[in-house]
């Protein structure tokens, strides 16, 4: 049997222009040309960046494949190339089926049009034929649960209803290959269950599904095979359980080694994130303890200095800080299990005498992630409802 998708040596190069705005204005172009007519682009601080670097893999018909990787690993770029939104810089993809891509639900929804009209609009943008939409129309309306409002303009829908309608249209796509980006379960808990059920039906119906998510729980549930992307290359291609296991053990950013030869009163030599077996890791499960050993060098007999660390979340807000007096060159911090919620965290560090003297200050020294496969709040990771960075310490009485 021939693969349904052959990805052959795909690269995507972006030119990073330092100093320029996201989009050009004509004036800039003209001025740049006048300023330096012999240069191709002014500034000449351009730098090539490979979002994807020569990646190849095959996907067989009927496989459901989870694509896993950290932010910036190239997942979204890969999906955009597969859905023909942006062309690859080199390489080619052979596809033996109709690809439908759901990088977002409700693309093309217009608030002034009624629910009925939006189903047709959205469906045809997604590549459905009019007769396919007509055939599934009742099922779509029923799935979304919006019978009563089907001829009401979309702007009068609640946001939950809009999302349900959007998902419902997408759920009835009949393409052989589906590409899905983190959009799958939306709405309230009950509707989410319905969505997951529908997604499982789809993956078991013999269609090919490519699925990108940060939510390991859902990936495990839906996919049989995994592809692990790291900095634009395929790091590993294996069964989904092996891929997730490796992802959890990745050593990316797990250690910081100070190579500058500073000679302050106290210097930081090394920081790492490890588990209790002193194994280097940067991704931890919710029920794992995080050990952070610090290696310092005390250059003179100094007292009164303390080490302070601050953990910040992706929104750059501090989650908590911890401080200790430096009385040893080896200090270990243990973050207890079931404390931080799913997400990515940064560690910043200060060596100082509080409010008196600052010796070192390192911003975002290490990055680590927490993934949630079992907590009660796991369901909210799906629709990006941010319920906080820490699990509360409380009881319901």
């Amino acid at each position: 049997m021939k693969p349904i998708l052959e990805i052959q040596n795909i690269s995507k190069k972006f030119r990073i222009q330092h100093e320029t705005q996201p989009y050009l204005s004509l004036r800039d172009s003209i001025i740049n040309t006048i300023k330096s007519p012999f240069q191709k682009t002014a500034g000449s601080k351009d730098e090539d960046f490979y979002a994807l670097n020569n990646i190849s893999f095959n996907i067989m018909p009927g496989e459901s494949v989870g694509i896993i990787g950290k932010n910036g690993a190239g997942k979204s770029t890969l999906l955009k190339i597969l859905s023909k939104i942006t062309p690859p810089s080199s390489g080619k993809i052979i596809s033996r089926g109709r690809i439908a891509s759901l990088l977002e639900v409700g693309t093309g929804f217009h608030p002034e049009l009624s629910g009925r009209e939006n189903i047709f609009m959205n469906g045809s943008i997604l590549g459905m034929r009019k007769k396919e939409i007509l055939k599934n129309f009742d099922a779509i309306v029923d799935f979304a649960g919006v019978e009563k409002f089907i001829d009401t303009p979309l702007k009068h829908y609640s946001s939950g209803m809009q999302l349900r309608l959007a998902f419902a249209v997408a759920a009835f796509l009949e393409n052989e290959i589906l590409i899905i980006d983190e959009v799958l379960a939306v709405g309230d808990a009950e509707f989410q269950k319905k969505c997951m059920g529908k997604m499982e039906d789809v993956t078991h119906s013999g269609r090919t599904v490519l699925f990108v998510s940060h939510n390991m729980g859902i990936v495990t549930q839906l996919c049989s095979k995994g592809i692990y992307l790291e900095r634009g290359i395929v790091k590993k291609e294996d069964s989904i359980s092996n891929i997730i296991a490796q992802y959890l053990h990745s050593e990316d950013n797990a250690s910081f080694i100070n190579e500058t030869k500073t000679q302050q009163k106290i210097d930081l030599l090394k920081v790492q994130t490890t588990n209790n077996n002193t194994e280097l890791k940067s991704t931890f499960k919710v029920d794992e303890e995080i050990y952070i050993p610090f290696k310092l060098r005390i250059n003179a007999n100094n007292s009164g200095y303390s080490l302070m660390i601050t953990i910040t979340n992706l929104l750059k807000s501090p989650v908590f800080s911890a401080e200790t007096i430096i009385d040893n060159e080896d200090i270990v911090l243990k973050i207890n299990k079931h404390f931080l919620t799913e997400g990515q965290y940064n560690l910043s560090l200060r060596i100082h005498i509080p409010n008196k003297e600052l010796v070192h200050h390192y911003e975002d020294l290490l990055t680590f992630s927490i993934i949630d496969l079992q907590s009660d709040f796991m369901i909210y990771n799906v629709n990006n409802y941010f319920y906080g960075s820490v699990f509360g310490n409380y009881e319901w009485l």
């Binding site: 972006f14 989009y23 050009l24 204005s25 004509l26 004036r27 172009s29 955009k80 190339i81 597969l82 859905s83 023909k84 939104i85 942006t86 062309p87 690859p88 810089s89 080199s90 390489g91 080619k92 993809i93 052979i94 596809s95 033996r96 089926g97 109709r98 891509s101 990088l103 977002e104 693309t107 093309g108 217009h110 002034e112 049009l113 009209e117 047709f120 609009m121 045809s124 943008i125 997604l126 590549g127 034929r129 009019k130 303009p153």
Partner: protein, 273 residues
């Protein structure tokens, strides 16, 4: 069905693919027409009222002066309307198409379909308005009891519409592609349309101008031939074939440049939008 996704190499129009997605033309056009007249009391009547009011305004302000100074062969209101209904396809189509890629950028970034569908649909929307206004035009022809040769009308009026569509679409595509890269065009387009209205013999006859060089310069405007043909369809007042040729060639040239520039740059629209 087997196909390849690869870096863009050769330039073609992609007609086969457009045909494959033909239903989208209908949906985009239908959406834009619906949205355009949603929540208006008068609805489609606006498509009739706009050219009618413009004709009245121009007749009151310029009618007398122009009728007294030149040989129009028809009443001024009919002269103005015959130009305006063709001009309106161009002006609304051009501003619609020129801004279409930017206004639909949220769709472009998330889903693939042949991008040409969007500016084509914008021109189709303005054709719909034209059909509405055409009713007024017929009404006015009857009111003034104009003596028209039916065969002449059937041949030359559609020809005028065809040239209008070609130039609107060509220029529209070009501006749409430029607009997504240089947002300055959002401001340039309205000026351009306003300026061109005065450079095209819509509200005045070209016979007002005697300098031949200036005449040729004005004929570089693709809309010159479209407007002249729409009047020729009614009056059979002889046309200057040299000037017409210049204008038709320029329409075709704009079409080719516009469409090819669009096709050449469309792969990167999603990165720029």
């Amino acid at each position: 069905m087997e196909y390849e996704i690869r870096p863009k190499e050769k330039l073609n129009l992609g007609i086969a693919e457009l045909w494959q997605y033909r239903e989208l033309f209908y949906f985009f056009t239908w959406r834009d027409i619906k949205v355009k007249y949603k929540q208006t009391v008068l609805g489609f009547l606006w498509a009739i009222l706009q050219p009618l009011i413009m004709t009245m305004l121009f007749s009151f302000s310029l009618g007398k002066i122009i009728s007294n100074n030149t040989q129009l062969n028809m009443p001024y209101p009919l002269f103005a309307l015959s130009g305006l209904i063709v001009w309106n396809i161009f002006s609304s189509g051009l501003s619609g198409a020129g801004n279409s890629m930017v206004t639909n950028s949220n769709i472009i970034k998330k889903i693939y379909f042949p991008r040409l569908i969007i500016p084509i649909s914008a021109v189709l929307v303005s054709l719909f308005d034209f059909i509405m206004a055409f009713i007024i035009f017929i009404g006015m022809l009857i009111y003034y009891q104009t003596d028209i040769h039916i065969l002449n009308f059937i041949i030359f009026f559609p020809l005028s519409i065809l040239i209008t569509c070609i130039s609107t679409f060509g220029l529209g595509c070009w501006l749409a592609a430029l607009n997504i890269k240089y947002r300055d065009f959002r401001y340039i387009i309205p000026f351009m349309i306003q300026g061109l209205l005065f450079l095209t013999p819509v509200i005045y006859p070209l016979s007002l101008i005697s300098n031949l060089k200036i005449k040729y310069l004005l004929a570089l405007n693709p809309m010159y031939s479209a407007v002249e043909l729409s009047r020729y369809a009614v009056t059979t007042k002889p046309l200057d074939s040299n000037l017409m040729l210049v204008s038709v060639l320029s329409a075709i040239l704009f079409f080719i440049i516009g469409v090819f520039y669009f096709r050449k740059t469309e792969a990167y629209f999603a990165d720029l939008a």
